[in-house]
Subunit: 519 residues, 2 copies
């Protein structure tokens, strides 16, 4: 494994046509492949449009990331992307741990390659922009001593906030729990148990980075601490999507930063949409990774769609289902944003990826959710709690339950009303999420970081952070005072009692003497 990891580095420097802008910054981007790159690309394109020079580190077998681009340089490293092998696999979670093993090996090889490291140092980058779903970019930024900006929703330590913001488990549902911010006692117990389980799982993933952390950043360094040292967290959600929870000053919410007003549809698609008449259209897409569902399920979905008066546009890459109705159009790809923004769109059948949900919120289209893996069940449980989504369990669904769910979302007006309310809230921001993200990236360039927004409390040992040592000392002190006081009081009581007894004795003796003399 290690053998094929040697690095063939060649720096591609196409002629970059930078528009005149406020830019001129040097940004080093360490992306994560797959759907994560879709997000990162939005930032990279906008940074380019603002006149910054961008260098992207691209694994040679990358699935999504282009080696040749007119708007970024690339540094190619070989054999590092694991996504090619795991795409379409339902065993993603298990495979993730292997991915981290690969990334940590890749980084180790990079750090050993002194020519590469010297050329990176010489390039005088202003910052590293990375997605901390793997540890690579974080380690690279620390190794190069550069400010660090995260484009984040997940870290190895779970949902981004859990790595830096206090997250009381009484009202902050742990990732994967599918709970809301309003939990019963049993649910709160569940949340605490899932927290411990999750922590253990995540520790396993982080473990792959331990040796490289200790080798380069000191014996007590670990990936969590290095991640917590990031300057700015560009968080890919907001509080229209997420439940309200504590946050930190260096978290910048840019949820929906990729959303745009719809462009006109291609003529044939527009004709199909218009043919739906008053009934409107339903669109269905299960995102970039999951193009194909098991055949039995596709048949059930197709059969359900066939019973609807609506037209359906279904992004489907597998075999054509036999039960497909005339009202359903299968497409390999669709202009999802333009379709969601079309006035005839009535509902969105989705797997619940963050991007799709943000676009649905932006355009105010209610959701029928078919959650598969990762954050999808959590995302959809949030939408369900806000009354804008109906969730269908893919494991137990059939044409009837699916049809019922779609019809409920179509005919119960509360779904659409609530989603349009969320849309209004989301759009009503002092500045566009993408502009806000750009501002803070450029802020880090201008000021060489954003240390004033970042607490250093993560450097404290856990018992100090949680004041356990203080509580123990105060408790010991109070106990000591109570013990001493009790002892003193007891001793005094004893003394007093003895004196009383003695006096009694004396009195009795005197009395007896008096009596003696008297009688």
């Amino acid at each position: 494994m290690m053998k094929c990891m040697h690095l063939l580095v060649f720096v591609l420097t196409p002629l970059l046509l930078c528009p005149p802008g406020i830019g001129g910054g040097q940004v080093l981007v360490f992306p994560v492949d797959g759907s994560h790159w879709i997000n990162m690309k939005v930032l990279v394109e906008e940074l380019h449009a603002r006149g910054h020079n961008i260098t992207v580190i691209v694994p040679s077998d990358s699935w999504y990331i282009n080696k040749n681009s007119s708007y970024y340089n690339s540094i190619q490293i070989e054999g590092a992307s694991f996504w090619t092998q795991i795409k379409m696999s339902f065993e993603l979670i298990v495979k993730c741990s292997e991915m981290h093993y690969h990334v940590s090996n890749m980084i180790h090889e990079m750090f050993q390659d002194s020519r590469l490291m010297q050329s990176l140092q010489a390039s005088e980058y202003d910052l590293v922009l990375t997605d901390p779903a793997t540890g690579g970019g974080v380690l690279l930024a620390h190794r190069l001593g550069l400010p660090l900006v995260l484009n984040v929703r997940w870290t190895l330590q779970g949902e981004g906030h859990f790595a830096i913001a206090p997250s009381p488990l009484s009202y902050v549902p742990f990732p994967g729990s599918e709970l809301t911010d309003n939990m019963s006692f049993i649910e709160r117990v569940q949340n605490v148990l899932i927290y411990f389980l999750g922590k253990a799982q995540l520790a396993i993933a982080s473990y792959h980075y331990t040796s490289i952390c200790q080798q380069y950043f000191g014996s007590d360094a670990d990936l969590l601490t290095l991640t917590q040292g990031a300057d700015i967290w560009l968080m890919r959600n907001d509080f229209v999507f997420e439940f309200p929870r504590p946050t930190m000053p260096n978290v910048v919410y840019m949820g929906g930063f990729q959303c745009k007003p719809p462009k006109p549809l291609p003529t044939d698609l527009e004709e199909f949409v218009q043919s739906s008449g008053e009934h409107g259209v339903i669109i269905m897409s299960l995102g970039t990774i999951f193009g194909e569902l098991p055949h039995e399920i596709t048949e059930e979905i197709a059969a359900a769609f066939a019973q609807l008066p609506q037209k359906v546009i279904w992004r489907h890459r597998g075999k054509r289902p036999a039960s497909l109705g005339n009202n359903t159009l299968l497409v390999k790809w669709m202009p999802q944003n333009d379709l969601l923004g079309h006035p005839k769109t009535r509902a969105f059948v989705a797997h619940g990826g963050t991007n799709g949900i943000q676009e649905a919120i932006y355009h105010g289209v209610p959701i029928v959710g078919l959650p598969l893996v990762f954050d999808q069940p959590d995302n959809l449980s949030r939408m369900k709690a806000k009354g804008v989504a109906k969730i269908v369990d893919i494991a137990t669904m059939d044409r009837n339950t699916f049809l019922q769910a779609v019809q409920e979302v179509l005919h119960d007006p509360s779904y659409r009303i609530k989603m349009q309310h969320l849309s209004r809230l989301h759009r009503d921001q002092p500045m566009k999420p993408l502009d806000r993200a750009m501002f803070w990236i450029e802020f880090v360039m201008r000021h060489k970081g954003a240390a004033h927004l970042r607490t250093e409390s993560y450097k404290m040992p856990w018992y100090a952070y949680h004041s356990v040592d203080v509580i123990v000392v105060l408790f010991a002190f109070v106990s000591l005072v109570v013990l001493c006081t009790t002892a003193i009081v007891k001793y005094m009581c004893y003394k007093i009692r003895r004196r009383i007894k003695k006096k009694h004795k004396e009195n009795r003796w005197r009395k007896s003497q008096i009596y003696k003399n008297y009688y």
Copy 2:
């Protein structure tokens, strides 16, 4: 006391000349008198400029708040402002409790006045804007069922964040502690002790509102919970001023919202400033409440100033000190913002009120601090930790220690360099703090609140919020499992041992039989 509290209400409605704007909202303002009104006025003026109609509730004996204004209506209520009596007093903290007693009485009288309450209901306000340093505005908003926007730095529960955001005492210094975010063990013990002390003090202040809360908002209502229900917290600081700490999504930072570029000085003042030559000027002001210091202290300060080559402009309202030098100009009032923004200004001698510090940060002028009461020691300890202020203890100072402090700030370039760095950070924001405040006030108007940004976790009982019940149950369960397992294991051990013994016995018996037969 209660007798003089009857309310003479007359609503003044001057002809409001609203500029054409995006506005048209109806804002009910319940201010706090004194320096708090200076802040609130900035918001009220800007709201007026944006075309909103503002109604201000003004106590008849108000010290700062004008009854007649061209940009707001006023509802006058008699005998409620206590500030007139306590201004200039060093016993402010003690008197504060009395102030809360008065405010709660005033609010009670207001609620009883059905004509006033009906007229307030009829006015269909969009929101209540208030400073929660007293509880009046919060109670009024809940009584009228209106969305609530706080212009806040302090609540009765201490520094604003402590009422809503998790505040780990290991790195969040409790108000009044004068600690930083980097504490030794002893300091952390101190912080925890001050926390408990502070909580007790604040409970006393809140106590005055208990009966009115229970009467109007249910038997378990209290002021803290009602305050926590606010939609937006416009916080009068930011993280250039404050140490980084956890915050909440509905906290909007508007620190320095009153700061403006300097206007030219009046001719005579400009001449005086220019006469300082290369040495520049020092300006001194102890804010709006404290115009006069004890005579001995003024003499020492004057004598110290007299030894400097700089010119000094001193806002001073008492007797002219005998030791005053020719280089010092006493003024009753000064254009503080314009002077701080003047290129010849070298240092700012200040008491450490939030407004003055924000202006010093905005203009990049280092501080010599003479903290007196309230948040002033805390504010200055923050500036000291950031290396932009030298603090002088007013209780022990003399001309020498004061002179030394001023000279250190003048001649050690790090003070100015660091303060100008803070100034650059403060000015580098995606939008101006005042515009941000306006956006969120208008957001609340547009959406009838901002419930999606506000956690409702404050409604949980404390043991549920802190998951104490969950921990107890889990601990009990684990204990039970351990006990049962131990009991079972013990019982089995006992059984096994007995069986072994029995076998031994049998064996021995058999052996003995065998031996018997054998011999």
